[in-house]
């Protein structure tokens, strides 16, 4: 039980908040958040956060792959030989990602085109491999689901947050709907890749400050 060992479960409060699943979920959402906690999977976070719609589809894709992968890995963990566990993850992750990519191509062709290679690159996204290796392989299916949902939603919320500011400032729109009138010059810097670095850096700085405050 590698990761649940350090887990603090409160003794008081509602039953839900005292349950292990809930705390694993929160752990993934906040302390182990892939973007500002573990600082993993940044490549896709930088690339797809120029528009909120792209960020939403990308986070859903990652969450689905993460969830299904965690369920599979945690349920066959006793079958996987220790020496080839990485290869086993790769097999499963790549099959899932290719399937998700095809689904997007068929049902959301425009967004699939906008996301370009980044959906296929979920295969090499460290978040999924990381959660499989550090959590799913050691824990029960139930806990693995909580963890995958927490980390997936943590990734998604971070992406949406970044995309919110980048789309609002860069294009003056949210989900394609105009919020700031067209007469205002948009800060195009935020919509281009270098702007993503500034936005992400600021975001991590702000969240880290809040977390430090909370820890005191």
């Amino acid at each position: 039980m590698a990761e649940t060992r350090g887990l603090k479960v409160p003794k008081k409060g509602y039953r839900l908040f005292r349950s292990k699943d809930w705390n694993v979920f929160i752990e993934g959402l906040w302390h182990n958040n892939p973007i500002f906690g573990m600082v993993l999977g940044l490549c896709s976070a930088l690339a797809v956060t120029n528009l909120m719609l792209n960020a939403l589809v990308m986070s859903l894709s990652v969450t689905v792959v993460l969830l299904v992968n965690s369920i599979i890995i945690s349920s066959i963990k006793h079958l996987i030989p220790d020496r080839v566990r990485m290869i086993a993850y790769m097999f499963i992750i790549s099959s899932l990602v290719i399937a998700v990519d095809l689904v997007l191509k068929v049902f959301l062709p425009d967004i699939s085109r906008a996301l370009g290679p980044y959906v296929a690159l979920i295969i090499t996204n460290c978040i999924i491999m990381g959660r499989a290796e550090s959590f799913a392989i050691n824990n029960s299916v139930k806990l693995a689901i909580s963890d995958a949902l927490g980390v997936g939603m943590g990734y998604g919320l971070s992406l949406m947050m970044l995309a919110f500011f980048r789309e609002l400032a860069g294009f003056g729109t949210l989900f394609g709907f105009r919020v700031i009138p067209e007469t205002v010059t948009p800060a195009a810097l935020l919509s281009i890749p270098p702007g993503a670095f500034f936005a992400l850096g600021t975001y991590i700085l702000v969240i880290t400050t809040i977390r430090k405050r909370g820890a005191k």
Binding site: L79, I80, P81, I87, A88, F91, I92, A99, L102, V106
Partner: protein, 194 residues
């Protein structure tokens, strides 16, 4: 014994994954028939043939003949501008690939029309090649000896380029001219004089 177990495990996992992917691919191929319908719709629109959303495929097959030569699929009109040839072609743009739908008159001398299927050019500059105003400039333009996209079109084989998007304009010109050569070879037509 341990290595046997490992090999067995890997063989089983990879077979299962292969099966899953084969299934996904089959489903994808079925679903991509939808893309064909979208292409048919664009071609019908180019030839100003009316068709209801649900009959696009039927109307298209009534009006066009499909012929595959080499790796390209050519659609040949059976009604409007009888003998016109339409096909899809792809080439390099400024940032990404540009996919064009080219239509040529029955004598292969003029363009019948042009549509952009996909592109990722600079928004506001190169991406303006998708605007009808630009696309309609290609109606009836001569492609012999070759088509030219220039600043001020004055000859029958010239088209006005987009200001501020010279690379994209030149890419479109190049893709069309290469398309003409491909079409000539496919239909066994001698190359134009000069």
């Amino acid at each position: 014994m341990k290595s046997v177990r490992i090999i067995l495990f890997l063989v089983i996992t990879s077979s299962l994954c292969t099966l899953l992917l084969a299934g996904a691919q089959l489903g994808y191929e079925k679903a991509s028939a939808v893309f064909n319908v979208r292409l048919y719709g664009t071609i019908l629109e180019l030839f100003s043939i009316e068709a209801a959303e649900d009959d696009i495929e039927k109307v298209f097959l009534e009006n066009f003949e499909t012929r595959t030569i080499g790796s390209t699929v050519y659609y040949i009109s059976k009604t409007v501008e009888k003998g016109s040839v339409v096909f899809k072609t792809i080439g390099a743009g400024l940032w990404s690939q540009i996919e064009l739908l080219l239509a040529f008159s029955p004598d292969f001398e003029k363009m019948y029309g042009l549509r952009v299927i996909s592109q990722a050019e600079t928004p506001g500059l190169g991406a303006r090649i998708t605007e009808m105003e630009f696309l309609e400039r290609f109606r009836g333009v001569e492609v012999r000896p070759e088509l030219k996209v220039v600043k001020f079109a004055s000859r029958p084989n010239e088209v006005d380029a987009i200001t501020g998007a010279s690379v994209t304009s030149r890419s479109v010109e190049k893709i069309i001219n290469r398309g003409v050569i491909e079409m000539d070879q496919a239909f066994g037509r001698d190359e134009g004089e000069e």
